[in-house]
Amino acid sequence: MNAGLQLVFVVDDDVSMRNAISRLLCAVGLMVKTFASAHEFLESKLPEVPGCVVLDVKLPDLSGLDLQREMVERGIHIPIVFITGHGDIPMSVQAMKAGAVEFLTKPFRDEDLIDAVRTGIERDRHGRKERAELDELREGLAQLTQREREVMALVVAGLLNKQIALRLGASEKTIKIHRSHVMHKMGADSLAELVRMSQKLGIDMQRS
């Protein structure tokens, strides 16, 4: 059901549990990499593919919740599925508030883990796509001259070339040239697409 490469990271200090989870996820066709501690996970090089972390709350070096915080600080956006020996409500609330996909109590149902992991991978795939798109848009925006940015802002605000020319004190022909440069550099095929891009860039546009 999922195209392309994807990876599940299992972080649990208990070797039996770690291998059992790995076996289960492999059995449904997922690729798995296992880690015995939070640091082992943090120190490894994570490939740039959609993934999900299955994380034991109780780790010897850094607790699962601390690792969650550390990942945010390091800009690691991989979604987390927590697993725990004893279901502690305040702990699970904290984990979910910090963006966890799911909080499962051992022993859990296989469907629950598999569903959560797949949800996590999809979330990561989506997040990666969004971030890549935004990066591309920012790159395009960075290529615009100051004048072109002004033109882009007015174009997406719905002004006609004639109105923009009047506003900026330039000829309509010059505005037309600026406008086509904007479309080209941003890689937009239509006005509607340019508007959508500017919405995504939101903050960046206001700054310009």
């Binding site: 208990d14 039996s16 549990m17 059992a20 492999c26 020996g85 004893h86 051992k106 296989d110």
Partner: protein, 250 residues
Amino acid sequence: MNDSHEQELHKLQAELAHVTRVTTVGELTASIAHELNQPLGAIVTNGHACLRLLARENPDIEEARQAVECMIADGLRASEVIKRIRRLLKKSATGKSSHNINNIIHDVLRLIAGELNKNGINVSTRLSNQLPYVLVDRVQIQQVVINLILNSKEAMSGAGWQPRELTIHTGQTATDITVKITDTGVGISPENREQAFEPFFTSKEDGLGLGLSISRTIINAHGGKLWLEPGPDEQGTISQFTLPLSEHVL
């Protein structure tokens, strides 16, 4: 202190440590739960994996076999945990033998004499020397006596509190051995006298509130009774328990 006395004291201290271990059974439970949940979680997950491996169009027999082997290993691991717990609790589970209650009280007093001394508590004993032996689990009865004496000590430990008298009395009725521990402490209000036996009831800041509850459980299990009464002139508390006389014991 001569050598044999010192040896005996060491033995008693080791036993007290054991009593303390049993008292912390609540804490123990949490750690046992974790120790058992790990292998159980792995067994369940391996079981799920195994079913999925076998349900495939081309069943992965080899991987399924490995899953089952891991399940067996984890099952054995779980039973090891249980064996360890059994060993830990074994000493108190050895069961009953015949003892003179006075000896048990003397043992306990020797153990906690330092603690009582430090708190300026005078101890007097009025132990009947005609008592028959009773069939008890010595370590458990020690634990009860320690609990009751330490409660009395707490009740008399307030700054400037006077007097600090602890009296231990043993006697006999037609059917029971009786033990009375009387203190001159702050006492306990009538409404709390029964509540005090509820688990987690405590008047101490750092108390667990299990002492009296566990003590009553132990005495009841021996066929006896444990209760609290106000002390003479409505001062302090008398902790009393009974142990039934056994026909089989001399």
